[in-house]
């Protein structure tokens, strides 16, 4: 049994993948908790999908994916902010319009005959192809995210709990709502190499949803979300090794599988 669990990690490739996932767990878990508390899950999904054109362009130009992801996220965020300003439409429609357009554009670029066949990697990541340099970049970005969330913990809690009173308690709602989106964007960029822009959403939202339904106090929820995200990462690698299935998708499915019992049980997120 123990061997079944440890065998996959004999290979340096899988070891690096595990380190990548543990790094991402530190950023994705707590971030997901805030995203859910701010009822921003849709934005999380959208930001990561909306950066596809940026990724494809970077791939076409032979530039680092990180650069394309950054540009793509900025364009997506600006587009969403622009469309969402129209009060008659509301933010959801702004997000839907922008993301559909950008995803379509990304697909168009990626599927054109001149493009290198890397769309799959962009959408689903390449967990087993992570290099030492990739790890260093992901580590730096994840550390920045964790630090930002720690520094913003109290104002984020004030705004999330009671937006109307937050200013009188010392936190400006708009500033922290935007900060959360910015942190979300950085996290997505950090995770794109390993998990791709479709699967990263699972690692952000699923462990957080499980943690929120299991614990009653914010610090516990945040720590639990890291633990569950890390668990999903390790379990996903073990399964992908033995079942010979794609690592990223396996991790995403494990994350959802961990969240499922917690979500189905009658709990706090239900009401």
């Amino acid at each position: 049994m123990l061997g079944w669990l440890t065998d996959p990690f004999a290979s340096p490739i899988v070891q690096r993948a595990l380190v990548e996932l543990l790094i991402l767990a530190v950023a994705c878990g707590p971030l997901g908790v805030w995203v859910l508390l701010y009822r921003n899950a849709y934005a999380a999904e959208s930001i990561s999908h909306g950066m596809l054109p940026g990724l494809v362009l970077a791939a076409l130009a032979g530039a680092p994916l990180l650069l394309g992801a950054t540009g793509g996220v900025l364009v997506a965020a600006a587009g969403i902010a622009l469309v969402a300003r129209d009060q008659r439409l509301g933010p959801d429609i702004g997000v839907a319009v922008c993301v559909s357009a950008l995803l379509g554009l990304g697909g168009l670029l990626a599927l054109s005959p001149d493009s290198p066949p890397r769309l799959q990697e962009l959408l689903f990541g390449d967990l087993l192809g992570v290099s030492g340099a990739d790890l260093a970049v992901a580590g730096a970005l994840a550390a920045a995210v964790a630090l930002a969330l720690a520094a913003g913990h109290r104002p984020l809690a004030l705004v999330g709990f009671d937006r109307g009173s937050a200013p009188s308690l010392g936190a400006r709602p708009l500033r922290w709502e935007l900060a959360l989106l910015a942190i979300l964007a950085v996290t997505t960029v950090a995770a794109v190499q390993g998990l791709g822009n479709l699967l990263v959403v699972a690692l952000i939202l699923a462990p957080a949803a499980a943690a929120l339904s299991l614990a009653r106090r914010l610090p516990v929820v945040l720590l639990l979300s890291v633990a569950l995200a890390a668990l999903a990462g390790a379990a996903g690698l073990v399964l992908s090794f033995h079942l010979e299935v794609a690592a990223g998708a396996s991790v995403a499915l494990c994350a959802v599988a961990i969240a499922l019992p917690a979500l189905l049980a009658p709990g706090r997120m239900g009401h």
Partner: protein
């Protein structure tokens, strides 16, 4: 110095559409001011203006210190993972650097604030699991922790149970004795009659002064318009129709 001086205050959320105008009054330390008015009459807007959060504001507001605000309890999230004590501690967030723990003195003050509102036994209860009246008392305890000389309370007695209402009213008396100033938005005219000053708002300031001279049938009719139901002819016991909380 007065706790609060308001002079020729007007303002609102959009240009050219003042939600409240021509407000001018002074409140002294140790006074409870009832803020009466119909829904949409400008009570919450006035509070926003005093907090410095109204997008458009003209006129003068002079405050003895930063006010604390107690929202209507249904504004706070019930599914947020915090206990009653966690919520009270939020009152100290503004003066705590992010890298520091909440100071021991503040943690002790939070515990005693919960005790003052009669909820020492519920410190570890989830905020969302408390009753409406208990949640209101927790939010008041949070404001106590802010140690503000001026408290703005938005309908703190609306829809709370009898035990909570009695506790809150007793606490108001204690705070008055401590020299704090309270502005209390309320629909309860009878209760307003027991406090020190009454401010009547209907988009503008209708009247301000001691209850005896302010709570007249004429003023109340001007304040509430059609919402007013006068139960008794002598102009003393007056109840007001209580509808939705939309603002």
């Amino acid at each position: 110095m007065s706790a609060l001086e308001v002079d020729a205050l007007s303002g609102g959320y959009a240009p050219g559409r003042d939600a409240v105008r021509d407000v001018a009054f002074t409140a002294e330390p140790g006074q409870i001011v009832a803020v009466l008015g119909p829904n949409g009459g400008g009570k919450t807007t006035l509070f926003r203006a005093l907090l410095g959060e109204l997008p458009i504001r003209r006129g003068e507001v002079r405050l003895a210190g930063r006010p604390a605000y107690v929202p209507q309890t249904e504004r706070a999230r019930l599914d947020f993972p915090v206990t009653a004590l966690d919520v009270v501690l939020m009152g100290a967030y503004g003066r705590t650097p992010w890298f520091r723990r909440i100071a021991r003195a503040d943690r002790e003050a939070a515990a005693s604030a919960l005790e003052r509102v009669g909820l020492a036994g519920e410190a570890r209860t989830s905020f969302g699991a408390l009753s409406g009246g208990q949640r209101q008392r927790v939010l008041i305890a949070r404001a106590l922790l802010q140690q503000a000389p001026l408290l703005l309370l938005d309908e703190p007695l609306s829809g709370v149970d009898g035990v909570s209402a009695a506790r809150i009213e007793a606490l108001f008396g204690e705070l008055r004795a401590e020299g704090r100033t309270l502005l209390v938005a309320t629909h309860d005219v009878r209760q307003a009659g027991e406090w020190d000053r009454v401010l009547c708002l209907h988009g503008r300031q209708v009247a301000y002064g001691p209850p005896a001279t302010t709570l007249t049938p004429g003023t109340l009719r001007e304040t509430y318009g059609a919402e007013l139901i006068v139960l008794e002819g002598g102009g003393r016991a007056v109840e007001v129709g209580h509808h939705s909380h939309e603002h």
